[in-house]
Amino acid sequence: MTSADVVEIAASPEAIAARLAASRYLADDSLATAIFLAIRLGKPLLLEGAPGVGKTEAAKAVAELLGRELVRLQCYEGIDAGHALYEWNYQRQLLAIRHAGEHEIDIYDDRFLIARPLLQVLRAPVERVLLVDEIDRSDHEFEALLLEFLSDFQISIPERGTIRAAAQPIVILTSNRTRELAEALRRRCVYHWIGYPDARREAEIIMLRSGDVAEATARAVANAVQEIRARPLAKPPGIAEAVEWANAATILEKGGSPWPEAFRRAIGLLIKDEEDLSAIAPELGRIVEEALG
């Protein structure tokens, strides 16, 4: 794909939103604008939001929209260069040295290099989209390393020299905001905060994402979930949970449970914390009745 193709795909925020909808992802105006700007300005896109609002899904949809492969780097506490950039295959290197005997051998050949996500993207920037997932879980050292990568798009391998990206790769970072990211990182990115959608949009998302949920059911689920999220729960339900709940309730209803009952029996797919369940249980009947209203 050439840069002209990218410009054509990302002609305007509306074009992006339409293409995202085609890959079954509903983006609101500001998310579409942020994606548009990130692609056209050639900057990384930083998505922040509560768990379960569709940050990772957004990245997948962007990769699909550009027709590129998604390379995902899941961050965790203690992630280091060996997991993110590259590593040498030492066992093979040692074997090769044995085999070579008296012959000359280059043990820093491509054969012995294990490319990790950042290097993979660097090698084929126009065929891949890099997703750095849950960057808030990594520690500060890794953030600094990432910052360096994002500013120059190059990796230095002491044994090999510097590898540069031929073109500017598209990078998406997500964060649950369990800690504040460094200002420098935010500054370098196009930023978007994804909130929970309103009831109408959530109903649309449920319809789009689930198998065969009726419109009335999707609306009821969206309304009930909005109501449930307003409470102080340990784990407020995300959009994915709402979709599963709608799916499960539909299946139960087809199996013979009447409506409010089907929702109540499927609640385990929406609320996955015992204490939250017991907190919400007394009111669940009323919430569902009202949502079905």
Binding site: S30, L37, D80, Y90, N176, W193, P236
Partner: protein, 378 residues
Amino acid sequence: MRRPQNLRPAAAPFLGFARLLRRHAFHIAPEQVISFMQAVTLLGPRSMNDICEAALATLAPSPDRRGELEAHFRNYFYGDAKPSIEGEEDDETRVKDDRGAREEERQTIRQEKGGELSSALEQLSSRDFQRDADGLSPFRRKLVSALPARRSFRTTRTRSRGTLDLRRSLSEIVSADGDIPSPLLRCRQAVPRKLLLLIDVSGSMKLHTADYLKLAHAAVQGADRAEVFTFGTRLTRITSALRIRDRGQALARAAALVDDWDGGTRMGPTLLAFLSVPRFSAFARGACVVILSDGLERGSHAELEIAMRRFSARAFRLSLATPLAGDPRFRPATAALRAILPVLDDLVDGSSIGRLTDFILSLARPAPTADSIWKRVS
């Protein structure tokens, strides 16, 4: 990033907007302003909304300040609501002054009421001056090494007891021409755990909050990852204020952030509110959680119990430091304390900075659970 050679007059408002935001303590880098203008050009802009979206995406305000940025945007580009933004700020400062005055008033009233209370207050202030110099700075220095450690995924070189460091060994082998001189080892690093301080600022804790804030300041300065929140009727995060090095300045900033000084306590609901914010509760995971409170909950303690159970499920160690335990006759006898005692790891004396610092520095050492200690006593 290329900079426009000569700024067109139409671009001036955008530059002005960035300057306005900087004046209101938004951190905006020059490259962000350039991106902002590029974004506006890319978007058309077809409407004012486009410009606003571009500002939000490129100037990257933190989610808590998003509303503020939008208000400034409306004020700057539409020219409305100017008085309300500035008015708000004035209001805030005025309230702050009022609050300060009220505090003093209440203190004097209390001093007149009971001899016991006022003498405690005096004792406290005289103790302060001595402790300032020698109590907290050793605490700050020792804190990092005193916090309990966990094994990180990252490795470090070691001379004994580790796994083989293949990368370094191999380069050693290559440089030694195929000989293996001695295997090089590495082991997983130990990283100090996070420290979470939750400070009760309700009326009943009035005598101690000043001390606790000083302690919190030292903790934030000393530990790698520490978070401090105050709670009374609301929950306030004051970590960012306490990051300022100068203690006086930091405490003044923190004091200004907190809105519920010396009010009532709603310990259960505020702690639950803490846990329901994902980014806060994630911080509590695997952390040392120290709650500085007398544990006096008005009304039912059911919510407090739930909150404490959740905390203990998340935290590495959950401790409650209460100033009441300074009294040798103290027993955890209230219904609320008895209910939460089984989930607490420690219930300790929080009546003075000295006791607290000693306790926090001892967090890494194993101790019997609070339940067993207090059963033995009573």
